[in-house]
Symmetry: C2
């Protein structure tokens, strides 16, 4: 087990009707005026917007609204929101939405105090020193951003999709009210499941040794995601499945799933970022469903035992031949992704074989990457080829 | 799953040689003078004291020492330390030791700002509003106090052993350096294992439903404790077992193990507190090894399915008859306690049958208690009778 520091100061407020408490929490934090950041308007259809606004009014909290954060969120919207936040002298950011809205809100919170362009944080030119307090109301469980300091953003001008992490952008309070997710379309359940499973696997397969406790926690998260995804596809209003699913996605990336690890592998995430940077229509989860099993196929011989352990404990695979178990594990994961309706090839995402050059180029901007195996250009190309069809 | 708020602001610094960083963390916290609180002197034998002092000197941190916190810590020592802390105007408490030292340090930290007697917090007459910042160096993994806001103390004047919990006494930073535990005697490993397993079981068996993810995490913690305890009794210097053991004890009571639960049952802890209040020579873990299986035997019919799930997932018991599995689970737990050298009867703790009256009287001061079953006086007596031999 590696040495680690675990520090997660986010207050997670979880359960039925917690959404109506957002105003109280802001008031407790002595906040009187927020920048309200949101996406495309689905929160106006499912009642979330109305409930949040009512709670703000009841607690005398003023708001300025910025709408239009889209999936695979972009720099220009963040720049717009920072400008509004500065002009209006807000005291906090209130993000109401899914991972894209919260990731954008983190950039706005840190960008508020920065003279230069916020993209500098993503380029790792400079680290944020300070941020506005961030409050979130999560409406789509998937990325885990509600309880960590990570943010991913796309710069449309350069087709780069980069990330940064900082303690200053951990949300102060995050509200997760599983009931408001009853109306999500199926593909968002599926993408959320794949995303969260991928987060756990990034740690699980990073090559760290003697992480028995963390492995058991990670397997518990993945097993719960598999079980609850199937239940939700049957009955989207199953509250208990929804709650266990939501909690699993949060714990998948709040630090617990990586205790004692090497910080995670993250090669599959890099490979996916190239996919959704090239085609922003591709959901992050969909891209991961395609690319993660391909990565596994390419690298599993470097740690056969761990891939076999995964096969045994997640899919109940038994075989004396460890390599066989590892191979079956990868096949089982892909089959399960297929079963729940996730894409498993680049072709299904409407990429042509010729796009592999482009994907390789974009991904290579950060190469070499990966912890279990440091991937160079040639490795990257081969993984996209495996993922192709 | 029940609604919950999870908020744990302790920074956990975990791993080899982390102990030498305590001075740096205090300095980062702008602390210049601490009350150094410790136990009976074992930290002078194993090098911990010297390393902490060196780190304090290197970071220009002054200290005033108070020694002599004993297992099952007592109010009088806390009162003494509060007086010293006030007189010397320290800026923080630095607890170096096991659960007793850290629990006492929490009382000192909160008592520093309180006009009345600190025992008022334990009597729940008043809640602490403020506390000195608390830094800890853990030398004995067991109670989980290094990452929560709980403290248990005995008032020798009244033979009461009470607890309180508050957000203001969560440690700012806790250092867990598993290597410094290599020299612990066997019975402390055993007591620590029983204590941590009991913490997890208090949640697991509190009657909450639909806690699938938390159940898996809890089972993972217990399985890891069983596995690593056996390894450490074989080889106390097995670092990886030590680290997994230590991390398991921390997660057993930092909030994670009880997510979505009813707050835990805690009847077994009440029953144990009477035991060690009556005989302070009994270690908390030893008392729990005796009383928890007795409680299980008395209440398991109220939630047979859950006790059977425990038997299946922890001890691999298979049987079509659910009640049989539940019974075997309790038997297996007792057998394992016996195997690792924990006591399993009150007799082994040198109690006479006639002491049951006394134990019942003491425990009844807080009765009725328990979440799965609210225990009244007659129930309490019966459980002590089951525990007797």
């Amino acid at each position: 087990m590696r040495n680690f520091v675990f520090y997660n100061p986010t207050k997670l407020v979880f359960g039925k009707n917690t959404i109506d408490k957002i105003g109280e929490y802001l008031k407790k934090g002595k906040i009187k005026k927020v920048l309200f950041l949101a996406g495309g308007g689905s929160i106006k259809k499912n009642g979330v917007y109305e409930r949040v606004v009512r709670s703000l009014i009841e607690n005398d909290i003023e708001k300025v609204e910025v709408w239009g954060v889209r999936p695979n969120p972009v720099l220009s919207k963040v720049e717009e929101a920072i400008e509004v936040a500065k002009k209006e002298s807000v005291e906090a950011i209130l993000a109401v939405g899914g991972g894209s809205v919260i990731d954008s809100a983190k950039a706005v919170a840190a960008g508020y105090y920065y003279e230069g362009n916020v993209w500098d944080f993503y380029l790792e030119k400079v680290r944020p020193k300070k941020a506005l307090p961030l409050y979130t109301v999560l409406t789509l469980s998937a990325t885990g951003t509600e309880m960590n300091g990570n943010t991913v953003l796309t710069n449309e001008r350069t087709t780069e999709k980069f990330a940064f992490g900082s303690i200053v952008v951990y949300p102060k309070v995050s509200i997760v009210d599983p009931e408001v997710q009853f109306s999500l379309p199926e593909h968002q359940i599926v993408n959320g499941a794949v995303d969260a499973i991928s987060h756990v696997m990034e740690y699980y397969f990073d090559g760290a040794e003697n992480t028995e406790l963390t492995d058991r926690i990670d397997e518990g998260i993945i097993l719960t995601l598999i079980e609850t995804t199937e239940k939700l596809l049957e009955n989207p209003k199953d509250y208990e499945a929804r709650a266990n699913f939501a909690l699993s996605t949060t714990l998948a990336l709040n630090g617990i799933s990586g205790l004692g690890h090497k910080g995670g592998d993250w090669a599959s995430h890099e490979l996916e970022h190239a996919i959704s940077a090239l085609n922003p229509e591709v959901a992050h989860g969909a891209g991961l469903a395609v690319v993660f099993p391909a990565w596994m196929e390419y690298v599993f011989t470097k740690n056969v035992e761990k891939f076999a352990k995964f096969g045994e404990n997640i899919f109940g695979i038994k075989d004396d031949n460890t390599e066989e178990v590892a191979k079956k594990a990868i096949r089982s994961l892909r089959n399960w992704y297929k079963k729940i309706g996730a894409p498993i090839t680049l072709k299904e995402l409407n990429f042509d074989y010729s796009d592999i050059d482009n994907l390789t180029e974009i991904a290579c901007k950060h190469a070499p990457f990966g912890e279990l195996v440091k991937l160079e250009k040639e490795d990257i190309r081969k993984i996209y080829e495996i993922a192709y069809e």
